[in-house]
């Protein structure tokens, strides 16, 4: 909500600077988001009356205008504006003066005529265009009849001012008006002076007499459900003459940051902004049978709202209806058919108190957000609805000569129920806050806010003022105690908590460990958004991912079923900026739909592309490859003590024949391979990429407890063998034969070489193994190891026809 300092000063006396006001309001929970001070930047601008306007004798596009400047005499100016007529009240800057944009004004000749000044539009005066009507922004600014001719413009229009943007939390509906802010300023003053809250300090008219109500055939108001509408007052005005508001009213609206529309609308807007009470104007003659019925909508009922949209009402929507059909969605928006038009002669103003939830429900369901709904949802003051606003509005009607007379006020729901009292215990309060307040302290603090309290022993009976609809339970009163005492005044201490060890889930611990290991290996952790484009998911050959009902953008309409999309995006971003490689991982949730239920699991994605290792004078560059990725996966699994096996795998993301399924026992841990080129292309990644994805939940399940194994303290002996076999024989098969045939003394085997082509016969490959032998209880002899290697060689020859290329010790 935007409001100007002058409007607050007009409502309550206070001597805080704008900066102090911002801080002090912030201290009680009213946030001023921004503050802007504008000064008077023009000089020597006066209010003038046009006494004569005629075309310029020689300049076709100009008009010659004679002005009456009151005590300052008269002047003649030339203007190119076309909206100046005899009798108009306009601002003029005289020679020696300056416009808001800094232009110096001097007398100037146009043909044979001297122009001694310049008529001004809103721009030359630096006015706020957001607060002016379209007409006011058209050509020369017109001031109303109330402006004193000959006075300085800054006396006729509130120019230099400070405007505040107030942002309140949903419970602070009571602060969404000038009155509301003034009340909080009164609270600040009361607290500072250690005196009780005094509504009398507020200079706004706050009549408290209930209106003389007549609810008869001329206007008949019926409320069907009092829980949805506690009071409804219709003010009937006859012989309405519409048109723009007066000058004085107009400048008041400018201070209130309200853009003028018409006399009727301006009045309703003033009630809203100044008192926080939404009001609405109906054309009395378009209310069938002159009846107003506050009821809920029936199945199938529709309404065309003021914005011209036909809306189907959800049954149960709170509406205002005439004898047959809804004429407004209560508290949200009026209907077009019953709205005030240029030909309206009789108006009914609605002043009502609706249930916040009911208004919120219809506002959300219909998707209409209006200032009125915003206020109603946050709770309006039922006391004000009944007692003050009808009188205020009636007075306005009289002042502004809107209608010839006020016919009557038709009402229902008077008198308004008082806010209920509540009981509050001192011991409970102190036990909640860790404080040591006495009953007098609390009475005093409540007094600042106008909360009445009676004390019996250590028990308070508290009653809130009618504008504090947020005070309905005892902790809310505790909050007011803290608010008034100051949050910082309350004790703070290191919590007296029992000594104990904090714990985290094994899954969380595992995720931390995975990140640590992978970062240690040289991968960078990414965090990518969880949204993907369903079209891409399906094009990749994956089952459809969970769809969002209300995505932010079309490209982010589903939840990621895999980590590859985000990681590929991150890779693309880095490569496109000239990086030569990208090696990254991400842990997080991936999502799926199964039998209409959504599932999520913790996944780990690893993606390599381009250079794996940078180069410098000591180190050759190394491209990422499927074996770099496999090495990373193996290191990670070894670190977790997970024994695993790989098997060929055919899936949508990875190239067939170039991908494997990694499992531990019967549990699938994940897949690893070359990213399918089609998938890479879909994701914008043109070069080869290598991708692995693991289920962290599966990894957790497969981790085994580590127990100590006795190890040999004697020196080991190494033997290398290289064997020539058919290309179809895998290293894994050879390794299995070696393990099987070398007996328990074999400590480790490493593949040190694997190649084909070159001088080797076609269809053959050479694989070299380095074997390490050790005994737990003695130093081995070379000869006994040679015997074991002999067994291995024989087995390799007989099982896979391996031809021994060389044995080296």
């Amino acid at each position: 909500m935007r409001i100007k300092l002058s409007a607050l000063h007009a409502t309550i006396d206070f001597d805080y600077t704008p900066e102090e006001l911002v801080t002090k309001l912030g201290d009680v929970g009213i946030e001023i988001e921004s503050m802007e001070t504008t000064s008077v930047r023009f000089s020597d601008v006066f209010v003038a009356r046009v006494t004569h306007a005629a075309p310029h004798p020689t300049h076709q596009k100009l008009q010659l205008v004679d002005l009456d400047l009151g005590p300052r005499g008269t002047a003649s100016v030339c203007t190119a504006a076309t909206n100046v007529l005899e009798g108009d009240i306009v601002p003029v800057v005289v020679p020696g003066g300056r416009t808001a944009d800094g232009m110096e004004i001097a007398a100037r000749m146009f043909g044979a005529v001297e122009s001694s000044g310049m008529l001004c539009s809103w721009k030359e005066l630096g006015l706020d265009g957001d607060l002016l009507s379209a007409e006011e922004k058209e050509g020369i600014l017109h001031l109303g009849a109330g402006a004193v001719v000959g006075s300085l413009f800054e006396q006729a229009w509130p120019v230099g001012d400070t405007s505040f943007e107030v942002s309140v939390t949903p419970d602070r509906g009571d602060a969404l008006s000038v009155l509301g802010l003034a009340r909080w300023i009164e609270v600040l003053k009361a607290r500072q002076a250690n005196q009780p809250f005094d509504i009398g300090d507020i200079k706004l008219p706050l009549p408290s007499a209930l209106p003389h109500a007549r609810n008869d055939g001329e206007l008949m108001v019926t409320i069907e459900d009092r829980s949805l509408c506690s009071s409804y007052i219709g003010v009937l005005v006859q012989d309405v003459v519409s048109g723009p508001s007066s000058h004085a009213f107009r400048t008041q609206l400018y201070q209130l940051c309200v853009r003028p529309v018409s006399r009727i609308v301006d009045m309703t807007n003033l009630c809203l902004k100044q008192y926080g009470q939404p009001t609405h104007a109906f054309d009395y003659d378009r209310l069938l049978e002159h009846r107003i019925i506050v009821r809920t909508s029936l199945p199938g009922e529709t309404i065309v709202t003021l914005d011209g949209v036909l809306r189907l009402l959800e049954p149960g929507t709170l509406v205002i209806a005439d004898a047959t059909a809804p004429v407004a969605v209560a508290g949200v928006m009026g209907g077009l058919a019953s709205s005030v038009t240029a030909t309206t002669t009789r108006v009914v103003f609605e002043i009502a108190h609706f249930d916040p939830r009911a208004v919120a429900r219809s506002s959300r369901h219909l998707g209409i957000k209006t200032d009125a709904a915003y206020l109603y949802e946050r709770g309006t003051d039922p006391g004000l609805t009944v007692s003050a606003v009808p009188s205020v509005l009636s007075a306005l009607v009289r002042e502004q000569c809107l209608g010839s007379y006020i016919s009557r006020v038709a009402s229902a729901g008077i008198p308004v129920p008082v806010r209920p009292s509540l009981s509050l215990d001192l011991v409970r309060v102190n036990g909640y806050l860790g404080s040591d307040l006495g009953t007098e302290d609390i009475r005093r603090l409540f007094g600042y806010e106008g909360i009445t309290s009676r004390v019996t022993g250590t028990t308070f009976s508290v009653t809130p003022p009618s504008f504090r609809g947020d005070l309905t339970a005892w902790p809310e009163y505790v909050e007011e105690i803290v608010r008034m005492e100051g949050f910082d005044e309350f004790p703070s201490h290191a919590p007296r908590l029992l000594l104990r060890r904090g714990s985290e889930s094994p899954l969380k611990t595992l995720c931390k460990r995975l990140r640590q290991t992978l970062a240690g290996i040289g991968l960078v952790e990414s965090r990518t958004v969880s949204f993907v484009h369903q079209e891409v998911v399906v094009a990749m050959g994956l089952p459809p991912a969970p769809l969002l009902l209300n995505p932010l953008t079309e490209d982010w309409d589903a939840l990621r079923p895999t980590m590859v999309v985000g990681l590929a995006g991150a890779a693309l971003r880095n490569l496109s900026r000239g990086r030569e490689g990208f090696a990254s991982f991400e842990t997080g949730k991936t999502f799926s739909v199964r039998d209409r239920s959504f599932e999520e699991e913790t996944s780990l994605g690893i993606l390599l592309t381009g250079k794996w290792q940078d180069t410098n004078w000591t180190t050759p560059a190394l491209s990422s490859s499927i074996f770099v990725l496999k090495g990373i996966a193996e290191s990670m699994l070894h670190d977790l003590h997970i024994s695993f096996a790989v098997a060929p795998f055919d899936g949508p993301l990875l190239e067939p024949g170039a991908s494997v399924l990694i499992s531990s026992g019967t549990t699938s841990l994940g897949t690893l391979g070359i990213l399918r080129h089609e998938v890479g292309t879909l994701l914008g990644l043109e070069r080869d990429a290598f991708y692995a994805e693991f289920s962290v939940d599966a990894l957790l399940k497969s981790m085994s407890t580590v127990t100590f194994k006795e190890f040999s303290k004697f020196p080991s002996i190494r033997r290398d063998i290289a064997v020539l076999v058919d290309s179809s024989v895998t290293a894994g098969e050879l390794q299995a034969i070696i393990t099987e045939n070398s007996g328990p003394l074999l400590k480790a085997t490493v593949v040190f070489d694997s190649f084909q082509g070159g001088s080797l016969p076609a269809g053959k490959k050479s694989v070299g193994f380095s074997m390490e032998f050790a005994s737990p209880d003695r130093t081995l002899l070379g000869e006994e190891v040679d015997v074991l290697v002999g067994f291995v060689e024989t087995a390799l020859a007989s099982r896979v026809g391996g031809i021994l290329r060389r044995t080296r010790s």
Binding site: L497, G502, R527, L547, L552, R573, N616
Partner: protein, 334 residues
């Protein structure tokens, strides 16, 4: 054979000058003065030279030997005292080593978690796809309450949404366990905010909850104070301002003394000396009743802060989008 003597002398001289270390000199010593050395051989020759030349030759060889012994000693001492043994250009970079990194958000998250683990808090977890009940109703945010406007929500199905905060984990924990509760939860949350320098639809929260007999507002202030000291440094202080969050009452916005300027005022804190970090308060009675706790016995506090916000303040990052761009130039800085 004077020429031979001169040749040997100049050869040894050159050899010693060229020597780069003591070992070179010792090798030369062996070569010339060793059992089979050149000079030793020359000494042996003295007796074979004819009588008339023997004296002169013997003198020359002995002079040469004395010079050689001295020259070798001198060169040895030179090498050990004045000359560097290695000539290494240490401005050259070392062998490249892996330089992986945890994401900055992970680093901050783990730091926050370790502060709370040390205070005996458990770390709880919960689903990202959440039921409306846990995300809203159970947290005192009924349908049609304006508080729902504070959090624009992504829906997957009626009643099923992406959690807008980590607070549903509070509810799940309380429904599962009896007090005392002392927990935090960190995790990804989602709000339907258009992307700009201070909003991303995906963000990370840390949520805390303590419920027991006699837990007070003073305890909340104490815990938050420890938290900010642990994360932002020991001189950081915390200030509470009244605010509204539906699941707490009293509710407070928490501000910390600006860690950039120490509270003196700078652009980061908009010259106020304070930076707003997140919400906190005493857990609302409705929330405790909803999970079946007896509010006449148990009470407590809760708080929820953004991990991105903590990281931005701590490291002076001005644009939240950077966390999710994964630019290596960004990630490798932390």
């Amino acid at each position: 054979m004077p020429s031979t003597i001169d040749e040997i002398r100049s050869a040894l001289e050159a050899r010693l000058t060229a020597a780069r270390d003591a070992q070179d000199v010792r090798n030369a010593q062996i070569e010339y003065l060793g059992k089979k050395g050149t000079l030793t051989a020359l000494l042996k020759q003295i007796s074979t030279v004819s009588q008339d030349q023997r004296k002169q030759f013997g003198e020359q060889v002995n002079v040469l030997k004395q010079w050689a012994v001295q020259a070798i000693e001198q060169r040895l001492s030179e090498l050990s005292s004045t000359t560097r043994r290695y000539d290494i250009d240490f401005s050259l970079p070392g062998q490249l080593m892996p330089t992986g990194r945890k994401h900055i958000l992970t680093q901050v998250e783990e730091e926050v978690e370790s502060v709370f683990l040390s205070m005996g808090f458990d770390i709880e977890d919960g689903p990202e796809i959440e039921q409306e009940y846990f995300n809203f109703e159970a947290l005192n945010i009924p349908a049609d309450h304006p508080a729902r406007d504070m959090q624009d929500t992504f829906y997957l199905a009626p009643g099923t949404l992406l959690r807008t905060h980590t607070s549903p984990i509070q509810v799940r924990t309380m429904k599962r366990e009896k007090p005392p509760i002392r927990m935090i939860a960190t995790g990804r949350c989602y709000r339907r905010d258009a992307v700009d320098a201070s909003h991303t639809p995906v963000f990370t929260q840390v949520e805390g909850l303590v419920i027991d007999k006699g837990i007070t507002f003073a305890d909340l202030k104490g815990v938050l104070q420890e938290f900010v000291r642990g994360v932002f440094g020991p001189s950081t202080t915390v200030k509470l301002l009244p605010s509204f969050f539906p699941f707490v009452e009293p509710g407070a916005e928490t501000a910390i003394s600006c860690p950039i300027c120490g509270g003196k005022g700078c652009p980061t804190c908009k010259n106020s000396g304070w930076i707003e970090m997140g919400g906190s308060g005493m857990v609302h009675q409705n929330v405790l009743q909803e999970v079946g706790y007896d509010t006449s016995i148990y009470q407590g506090f809760a708080f929820g802060w953004g991990i991105e916000r903590i990281a931005m303040i701590k490291y002076g990052i001005r644009d939240i989008r950077m966390f999710y761009d994964n630019d290596l130039d960004f990630l490798s800085q932390f």
